[in-house]
């Protein structure tokens, strides 16, 4: 019987396998950042252990770095300590670090692919749940906790129970691909299968709706696999994948022979079976806006805020969840989404802060001004993205429209640095989580695509971006 792409990658990385139970899996790439690593390095020191493969380990600072002027000292002492600790740990253990002054610094899931560190067919881990992003390249990539970070640092392996393969087919063609984006596809999927819909599985995204996407768009899809509860999400590599990685800073020297091998091997066999299947037709999908406090609480921009009864379809816990969410979000059922006013707009995060995201958003913003009551910011995903955008003049478009143009980092996605919402503030955000307090205590998050966020900044409320001229 044939195998799925996930099963092939899994099988190729088994170090120890038993009749039943977990397998010991080899890890090809370990990405490290300042927040989930300090205790892991402390653990190594306590036990006199070394990092087994520093050459397969790469670190950067992204979660709590300031996105303002980098020449100034970091005011938040606890952030400063965490950042200095990572620098010391990397020095002590011989790990390559892209620090705050590096032109390669950025969100770990943006720089991995940009530097050619992310490779098809590899296993990639990081102490960050959005590691699933790298699955866009046909890698098996997933987030781990700090104990597992220590285990990988020490042994370059992990004990893992094998997840089940889950096929999500995206069929059809979007009528307006500038207005209906990869973000709208993945939010539609999560809305339909739920935040636990992918539990215990590795999703393979397939179909015309996926192969049509660029690499950066595919990263947006795989990034949010975790929001559906999946262990990881991946997409079989194709010529777009191979072209994207060709000639990057750390692309292997024998790249073309690797491509020949990947082309032959990294695909799901025609007779392979998936444990679970879901199909999304995208011909008629609308831009999506989340209204609640988890990414599954999402609707079309043309809809109104649902009532807890309509949302829960009889499930009491879901109903209670929706009631609490509406209370927290200060929304009333029946309110048209386009009537919801926003105070802040955040274009950033590992979901949507790549060059294409900024290009698309800039088309909405060009020759327009941010609504006077809105504070809007763009936080590029990496310093490389920022530089490329500036070479294209995108910074001027955003700044002329009264957007703030920041340095790279996770920023307002998770409220660890000074970029946070004030209590009660409502934000159109291109990030991945609308959990209570995620962007700052009492802050209210609506997840949207970069073009939808840009349009909300201009109009001061949500609008159907399909009605704007984005050519």
């Amino acid at each position: 019987m044939g195998k799925t792409l996930f099963e092939k990658i899994w099988d190729a990385h088994i170090v120890v396998e038993k009749q039943s139970g977990p397998s010991l899996i080899y890890i090809d790439r370990h990405l490290v950042h300042e927040v989930t690593s300090p205790q892991a390095f402390d653990g190594l020191r306590m036990n006199n252990r070394k990092v087994r493969r520093p050459d397969l380990t790469v670190a950067t600072m992204d979660h709590n770095v300031p996105t303002t002027n980098r020449r100034l000292p970091i005011l938040d002492q606890t952030s400063a300590i965490q950042i200095q600790t990572l620098a010391k740990n990397c020095k002590d253990f011989g790990i390559q670090l892209f620090d705050i002054a590096s032109p390669n610094q950025g969100i770990v899931h943006v720089i991995g692919p940009q530097l050619g560190i992310t490779l098809p067919g590899s296993t990639i881990v990081c102490g960050d749940s959005h590691t699933s992003t790298h699955g866009a390249f046909g890698a098996l990539a997933f987030g781990i906790g700090t104990s597992e970070v220590e285990h990988v640092l020490a042994s370059q392996t992990l004990w893992l129970e094998k997840p089940k393969p889950f096929e999500i087919r995206v069929e059809g063609k979007r009528k307006n691909p500038h207005a209906v984006t990869a973000k709208d596809i993945i939010l539609s999927i999560i809305k339909n299968i739920g935040t636990g819909g992918g539990t215990g599985t590795v999703v393979e995204y397939r179909g015309e709706g996926i192969t049509d996407l660029s690499m950066e768009q595919r990263m947006t899809i795989c990034n949010m696999s975790i929001e559906a509860g999946a262990r990881a999400g991946l997409i079989a590599p194709d010529e777009k994948t191979f072209d994207y990685l060709r000639g990057r800073k750390y692309t292997p020297k024998n790249y073309e022979s690797l491509v020949d091998y990947w082309r032959e091997t990294l695909k799901t066999d025609s007779d392979a079976t998936f444990e679970k299947k879901y199909v999304l037709h995208i011909d008629d999908i609308a831009p999506q806006v989340s209204w609640g406090t988890n990414p599954g609480m999402t609707c079309d921009v043309t809809d109104s805020v649902p009532s807890p009864d309509d949302y829960s379809k009889g499930d009491q816990n879901q109903k209670k969840g929706a009631q609490k969410a509406l209370e927290y979000m200060d929304l009333k059922p029946g309110t048209p989404i386009t009537d919801i006013k926003v105070d802040r707009v955040f274009i950033g995060s590992c979901t949507n802060a790549r060059l294409e995201d900024l290009i698309e958003a800039s088309k909405v913003v060009k020759n327009r001004k941010v609504s006077p009551h809105v504070r809007a910011m763009v936080v590029p995903g990496s310093q490389m993205v920022k530089q490329q955008a500036e070479e294209m003049g995108l910074d001027k478009i955003f700044i002329d429209a009264n957007f703030e143009w920041r340095e790279a980092g996770c920023s307002m996605c998770l409220g660890m640095n000074p970029d946070i919402l004030s209590p009660g503030e409502r934000c159109a955000s291109t990030s991945n989580r609308n959990f209570e307090g995620r962007q700052g205590t009492g802050g209210r998050t609506h997840l949207v695509s970069p073009v939808m966020a840009a349009a909300a900044a201009i109009e001061g409320h949500f609008v159907d971006v399909r009605e704007m001229d984005l050519s």
């Binding site: 906790g145 597992e148 636990g196 660890m416």
Partner: protein, 161 residues
């Protein structure tokens, strides 16, 4: 293992309410614990007692990979979380550091157990006894490896056969 229940009757309790992002810079676990569940229940820290259990719905611990989430609960005194289901990373984090027991329960236990009930958890029998209500419910047994890691006291003490 005997303790009292703190019940959050909802699904999708996420890591950002278990320990909000701004506290991930705290390395002192006792201090971290003072902010546990702050995003959902600001009274949690004052009401939690050593040995208590949390009871909740589906997909407990969804979201971030932060190990700070089970650490903050553990150092608040929580010995186990009983939930209809768990998000995978939270589950592994709880077990790997031997911070607390993530116990999967059924709808019967979820509906019957109330806030403040005293329960006794017997892992060897896969049984939860509600002392307050004099009822007994089953729990999902731990898989072989999870059971062994728990027995060993965490991932780094676990030695495969």
């Amino acid at each position: 293992m005997k303790g009292h229940i703190i019940k959050y009757a909802r699904d999708n309790i996420d890591t950002d309410v278990i320990i909000p992002g701004q506290y991930l810079k705290i390395h002192d676990y006792a201090e971290l614990a003072t902010h546990a569940m702050e995003g959902l229940d600001p009274n949690f820290h004052s009401k939690v007692k050593d040995g208590d259990f949390i009871l909740s719905g589906k997909n407990f611990g969804c979201g971030s990979s932060r190990e700070h989430a089970p650490i903050a609960l553990s150092h608040s005194g929580i010995k186990a979380v009983l939930a209809l289901s768990f998000a995978r990373i939270f589950y592994r984090n709880a077990v790997d550091g031997a911070f607390l027991l993530p116990i999967e329960i059924g709808e019967d236990a979820y509906n019957a157990i109330s806030e403040g009930d005293e329960v006794n958890i017997d892992i060897s029998k896969n049984e939860i006894k509600n002392i307050t209500k004099n009822q007994t419910y089953g729990m999902k047994p731990f898989s072989e490896i999870i059971g062994k890691i728990i027995e060993a006291g965490g991932l780094f003490n676990y030695k495969p056969d």
